[in-house]
């Protein structure tokens, strides 16, 4: 199932002609503690290879989901794409140029919203817009803010502070803030992970609706098979860590616009779902077995 490194590079070169984002041979090693002091206190820790040999090309205007067992390194990968965490080896190219740190060409939606509690909804968006474009005219700025608040359906809540909003509404603000800077790529790390099932389902459909309007490249991490099938064009399945790799990439052929009912009628739905389930189940079982064994 694993792709030999040589083949992977060839494959990457072919695909990267059209790719917006190319991830090439990326690995992440969290350095251990091996200095003298740690040795004396007996607290040495070995280097931890979180992910290794990651190759992935993402074409413009595709919605990609990453799914994998807990702790396999999905967040690590996304943070490297976002530029929040340094790349140990390999490279990540955005439009052919290696990324250098973080930048507003990639917008990020955080699992726990990460809204500034001292700013109102409007101010959270304004902070983002003004940071990215300091010399923006007040008129254009206010129009962008208004449009995005409208896009996520929060009109009327502009002057509220995050603590006055429900979790679902907060994540709407998070999405609006990420989109307001007009990034090339939207990165989402379990954006609905902290929400209850109903709110989650509702927001998934909202994201589907918004995606139909903007068709931005999206990379989303999720634990939910249904969520991945509803939203994505491609689903990247990762193996368990340490040294997690990409196991398989599924193409999701459902026509758009999608909704929960129509995709379940599609002939490929059950097959894809079963394949993802068996993958996740196998990896998770192996993780548990290792935990018991070790």
């Amino acid at each position: 199932m694993s792709i030999a490194p040589v083949n992977a590079i060839d494959l990457a070169n072919v695909r990267s002609q059209t790719a917006q984002l190319s991830i090439r041979q990326v690995a992440k090693v969290f350095p251990g503690k091996k200095d003298l002091f740690s040795k004396l206190t007996g607290k040495t820790r070995r280097d931890f290879v979180a992910i290794q040999d990651i190759n992935l090309d993402i074409e413009p205007n595709t919605f990609v989901s990453i799914i994998g067992p807990s702790g396999c390194g999905k967040s690590t990968l996304l943070n490297m794409i976002a530029g929040l965490s340094p790349i140990t080896s390999g490279e990540i190219l955005l439009n052919g140029a290696p990324i250098a740190g973080s930048g507003p060409d990639r917008g990020m939606v955080f699992q726990n919203y990460a809204l500034m509690p001292w700013m109102t909804v409007e101010e959270n968006l304004r902070f983002a817009v003004e940071t990215v474009e300091p010399k923006i005219s007040a008129k254009r700025r206010d129009r962008i803010i208004k449009e995005h608040i409208q896009l996520v359906g929060l009109t009327g809540a502009e002057r509220k502070h995050p603590h006055e909003l429900s979790g679902g509404m907060r994540q709407r603000v998070g999405i609006a803030r990420a989109l307001a800077i007009n990034p090339q790529i939207l990165l989402m790390d379990e954006p609905f992970g902290a929400l209850d099932a109903l709110t989650r389902a509702f927001l998934q459909e909202e994201v589907e609706r918004i995606w139909e309007q903007q068709r931005k490249t999206v990379i989303m991490i999720t634990h939910s098979i249904e969520e991945a099938l509803l939203l994505s064009d491609r689903i990247v399945m990762m193996t368990r860590g340490p040294a997690a790799r990409i196991d398989e990439i599924l193409e999701v052929p459902f026509p758009r616009p999608r909704n929960r009912e129509t995709i379940q009628q599609h002939p490929a739905y059950q097959g894809l779902k079963a394949e993802m389930e068996s993958h996740l189940f196998r990896e998770t079982r192996a993780v548990e077995a290792e935990r018991v064994g070790g």
Binding site: P104, F127, H163
Partner: protein, 279 residues
């Protein structure tokens, strides 16, 4: 109350019950009761000689208190000032020393908090100087400044700088990583991140540091003024020399009351900057 009669059942009952079951009403009643018992004990004790000789009765003290608060601003020479003047003198000293200390402590705390190097470099000073009793600075202040007024302010400054500095440092060093990540993904400059993210995020810590500092400044000024010339501390010292115990009690009460008012101002400010973070 009349309206509640028209609403039947539970709601009416819920509205009427509170008067005696309401926590605040009951707390207030308990407060008044304990105060009454205390004053009664004091009055009877002083009249029947339970305490040492010279302890005034409660009524005498209250009368004295009333006289001082109704005549706060008279002036019969430096040793006989109205209590209002003395209060203003003490407050002025506290204000100058405290504001100067805050103006140093907040920016310095932010700088130390955001830079691990600065933290390691300056932490020894803070740890060494923080536990020193404010009054230990008094002789040094008098020697260096040769002026009792300036010495008082200096002592307020040196003793009220630490809580603000330490809390500000803590707040700036422990800003939620998510906020910093947001700022970083947007590509915000260091200055913008400090101004728009780190300072507002640390504000609750800064304000609680300021609140502790204010409490300390008010504690210290009274002690320091006993050795200086004017102010509420000196007033107490002077009345001790006059052996006027009721006046001392009055001054103690006023010091407590002023401290309470100052503290509630900061408590309100703390609420204002919290934005649901600790509610």
């Amino acid at each position: 109350m009349a309206a509640s009669h028209s609403t039947p059942g539970l709601i009416g009952a819920e509205r009427q019950a509170p008067l005696w079951q309401n926590e605040n009403v009951r707390a207030f009643a308990l407060f008044m009761l304990s105060l009454g018992i205390f004053l009664l004990f004091w009055e009877i004790g002083a009249k029947s000689g339970w305490f040492v000789k010279g302890v005034p009765t409660a009524t005498e003290t209250i009368k004295e208190f009333w006289w001082w608060v109704t005549n706060p601003f008279y002036r019969n020479g430096p040793n006989d000032l109205g209590i209002g003047w003395n209060l203003l003198i003490s407050l002025r000293r506290v204000a100058i020393g405290y504001i100067a200390a805050s103006l140093v402590a907040v920016p310095l705390g932010i700088l130390i908090g955001i830079s691990p190097v600065a933290f390691k470099a300056f932490n020894p000073y803070v740890q060494l100087l923080k536990p020193i009793s404010p009054l230990a600075w008094l002789p040094l202040g008098l020697y260096l400044l040769r002026d009792s007024e300036k010495t008082g302010i200096f002592i307020i400054f040196i003793s009220s700088i630490w809580p603000t500095l330490i809390n500000t440092t803590f707040g700036a060093a422990n800003v939620n990583q998510d906020y910093l990540d947001v700022s970083k993904t947007l590509g915000a400059s260091r200055l913008r991140t400090i101004w728009k993210v780190i300072i507002p995020a640390a504000l609750p810590n800064i304000v609680s540091g300021l609140r502790i500092s204010m409490g300390i400044a008010w504690l210290v000024i009274v002690a320091a003024e006993m050795l200086l010339g004017t102010g509420l501390g000196y007033f107490i010292w002077n009345e001790w020399n006059n052996l006027s115990i009721p006046n001392i009690l009055v001054a103690i009460f006023i010091i407590g009351l002023t401290g309470l008012v100052l503290d509630s101002l900061f408590a309100a400010l703390e609420k204002f900057v919290a934005f649901g973070r600790n509610s």
